[in-house]
């Protein structure tokens, strides 16, 4: 085996002896230990992980715990604005943030397809380390499995997360009340459109990038400022529309949205027009909706804007009305019903 061939100048972390993942890298023997020592531990190093126990032993801070898990299977692995690694950290961190929790610890499970370049894994691990640092969360335990060539699609990642709730609010759909306003933290549609365009080989005049980002800071800042948040929802798969229908249904209330108030970037709108998509249904990875009493709206918007949510806006209200119904006042002043996404969004044909 030629050990020199694998030197890859673009790889940010030290190289293992093989340029690609072999089945043996998941076998529990020396190759697996070398992979962990050369790729995983250096990227994620922290005192808890460094104990190298079968599990992480964690001190329990005061407060309620939030616990969540998510799996990431995005294709392609790398896209403008992020990669599967940033997604795997921010996605789980954001799920904790939507409980009003401060994320503390993550686990990560890699399911790697045989043949994946180790440089690719290193690049993803580096992204994860950077995203974890930005979100102030530690990766304290993990797992690596390898599946045969053709049995996976390069790399799948699962992350689970624990966060601590350091306040008395009960942030969940059941806490939403008639009279609440709905704030949106930013413009919608960028992540899904980025992936879609990349997959279909479509290019636009201006580059659309994923909005993948951690949402912890703006959420915790609102809570710290005493905003009485009733519910939070990050608007991932199914987009804003599906998130609103889910909450209206669970809360047994009606939601009324204002189309003009919903921020959508011009390039995103243009791409949606071309591809026949409705931005309301497109996935986001750095955008959330907050339900709170109207009296807190102005202050909450101010806080959001001070925490990088420059496009934050009040987009609607909650009423007693019909349980589970979501309506929207369109840009021309008529009203339409917003339903949950059905199947995939498919493009128009003429």
């Amino acid at each position: 085996m030629d050990n020199k061939k694998d030197l890859n100048p673009t790889c940010p972390t030290p190289i293992s002896s093989y340029p690609q993942i072999l089945m043996a890298h998941g076998g529990g023997g020396t190759l697996m230990h070398r992979l962990l020592a050369q790729v995983v531990y250096p990227a994620f190093a922290n005192p808890i992980l460094n104990q190298q126990g079968d599990g992480a032993i964690l001190a329990r801070p005061p407060g309620r715990l939030a616990f969540t898990t998510d799996s990431y299977v995005v294709h392609p692995l790398f896209f403008p604005g992020g990669d599967i690694g940033t997604l795997a950290i921010n996605g789980t961190v954001n799920d904790l943030a939507m409980c009003g929790a401060r994320p503390l610890y993550l686990s990560t499970g890699f399911i790697i397809e045989e043949g994946l370049p180790i440089a690719t894994l290193s690049r993803v691990a580096k992204s994860m380390a950077e995203a974890a640092q930005a979100a102030q969360v530690e990766i304290v335990t993990g797992d690596t499995k390898v599946v045969e060539k053709g049995k996976g699609d390069g790399l799948f990642i699962n992350t689970s997360g624990i966060g601590i709730i350091e306040h008395d609010l009960v942030i969940q759909p059941g806490s939403v009340r008639a009279g609440d306003v709905i704030l949106l933290s930013g413009d919608i549609g960028r992540h899904g459109l980025t992936i879609m365009a990349l997959r279909e080989g479509l290019t636009f005049e201006s580059a659309i990038e994923s909005d993948c980002a951690p949402l912890v800071d703006p959420v915790l800042a609102m809570i710290k400022a005493g905003i009485e948040i009733h519910c939070l929802r990050d608007l991932t798969r199914g987009g804003l529309a599906s998130g609103m229908v889910e909450i209206a249904t669970t809360a047994g209330l009606q939601i009324n949205l204002e189309e003009r108030a919903i921020p959508v970037r011009e390039d995103v709108r243009g791409a949606c027009e071309i591809m026949g998509f409705d931005p309301l249904y497109i996935a986001n990875e750095g955008c959330f909706a907050a339900f709170l009493p109207e009296r807190d709206a102005a202050k909450a918007l101010e806080i959001l804007k001070a925490h990088n949510c420059n496009e934050a806006a009040c987009i609607g209200t909650v009423t007693a009305g019909d349980a589970g119904l979501v309506t929207m006042t369109t840009s021309i002043g008529s009203r339409r019903i917003i339903a949950m996404l059905s199947g995939e969004q498919l493009p128009r044909i003429c």
Binding site: I332, G343, I349, C350
Partner: protein, 363 residues
């Protein structure tokens, strides 16, 4: 956004609604031909802005909806073959055939790919010389030129592994059938702007005259549609029946001669079966010599199919404008976009899907 926002201007739309209200003296029933128009009407709630007495009924202009069941079944059979890469527009993937749909064929191992253009399928054929690449050529006069171009280029390049499963239909013969029907309710037509962009509107002039019906070539944005309705109602109120062009920014009387020429080079007009409407003389396109070898139906010998339409689906009546989607007993109950009984519930341009997405069930 330029070229969009000015046609979604609330002020202009409401102004047109006011002018329309001032104009109307009695009830009128209009049909918007194209499914794209149906979606805009329901999405923007335009029919709510119309004065009482003006009724819009939804026409057959959804290519997915009118593609006959036999062709969907043929597509499913061809797509399941191991040597085939089956390329289709996204809308066709979930349309139920007799037993299955293309998404299920894909899940069972068929190589089914969603493309945005027949030329993408042509490229796939060039890149995969050992595979048979089939494109599902569905659509009205709008998609025909690009489909013709794909075959034309394949022929020029001597590409042997490319073929079309042709399901092309033509609008005017179907309109003629609707206008001649004894059940006809419609008094004015909004013709499909995109179809006329290709074909022009000369062929609509004898229809307007013979059936004494105003036909307004209309675009797809709220201002377009309100203007189209206004022009049609104005003609009705004044007792006129001619072809007018609202969509002047895109449509000329002669259409796009280069596109029409290409269609005529590659296709010949033929009798075609429409799902829900039945057989309509001279309403479809088939490949002609020297392009017959690119016909996927012949290449893969798919014939003798047993065809069973869902007895619950009333899409035929819906596409003739006899009933509204919400008047179908299965609507929103046994038939939803996730479990469609008929094609109009699947396509982004299907009237049933538009009603389901934007209207409550009681609507």
């Amino acid at each position: 956004m330029k070229f969009i926002d000015e046609y979604r201007d609330a002020h202009i739309v409401h102004g047109l609604a006011d002018r329309l209200a001032a104009l109307v003296t009695r009830p009128w029933t209009l049909m918007e031909v194209c499914g794209g128009q149906t979606h805009a009407i329901v999405k923007f709630g335009l029919d709510e802005l119309l004065p009482g007495g003006i009724t819009l009924i939804h026409g057959p202009g959804c290519p997915v909806c009118v593609t006959p069941l036999e062709l969907i079944d043929k597509a499913n059979l061809i797509a399941a073959r191991s040597e085939v890469i089956f390329c289709s527009f996204g809308d066709m993937l979930r349309v139920p055939g007799t037993r299955t749909d293309l998404l299920t064929v894909k899940a069972q191992g068929g190589d089914v790919r969603m493309v945005y253009s027949p030329l993408d399928a042509l490229k796939i054929a060039q890149e995969n010389p050992m595979r048979e690449v089939v494109f599902f050529a569905v659509g009205f006069e709008t998609t025909a030129p690009a489909n013709a171009m794909a075959v034309y280029q394949a022929h020029q390049q001597g590409l042997q592994n490319f073929s079309l499963l042709v399901a092309q239909v033509l609008v005017p013969p179907a309109l003629k059938m609707l206008l001649a029907s004894p059940e006809r309710r419609l008094q004015g037509l909004l013709a499909a702007g995109h179809v006329c962009t290709v074909m022009g509107y000369r062929e609509y002039e004898p229809l307007a005259e013979h059936y004494n019906i105003p036909i307004v070539v209309t675009g797809f944005e709220p201002v377009d549609i309100m203007q189209g309705v206004y022009l049609a109602v104005k003609q009705l109120e004044e007792g006129r029946a001619v072809v007018e062009n609202q969509y002047t920014r895109s449509v000329h009387r002669d259409g796009n001669p280069a596109a029409r020429q290409l269609m005529q080079t590659v296709f010949t007009v033929t009798t075609q079966k429409w799902r829900g409407l039945g057989e309509i003389p001279l309403s479809g396109l088939a490949l002609r010599e020297p392009y017959l070898a690119y016909d996927a139906g012949q290449r893969f010998g798919v014939s003798g199919l047993e065809v069973r339409e869902s007895t619950d689906c009333r899409s035929g009546l819906i596409m003739q404008g006899v009933i509204r989607p919400s008047e179908c007993p299965a609507f929103g109950r046994r038939c939803t976009p996730d479990q469609p009984l008929g094609a109009p519930m699947v396509s982004s341009e299907g009237a049933c899907a538009a009603y389901y997405r934007y209207r409550p069930i009681a609507g």
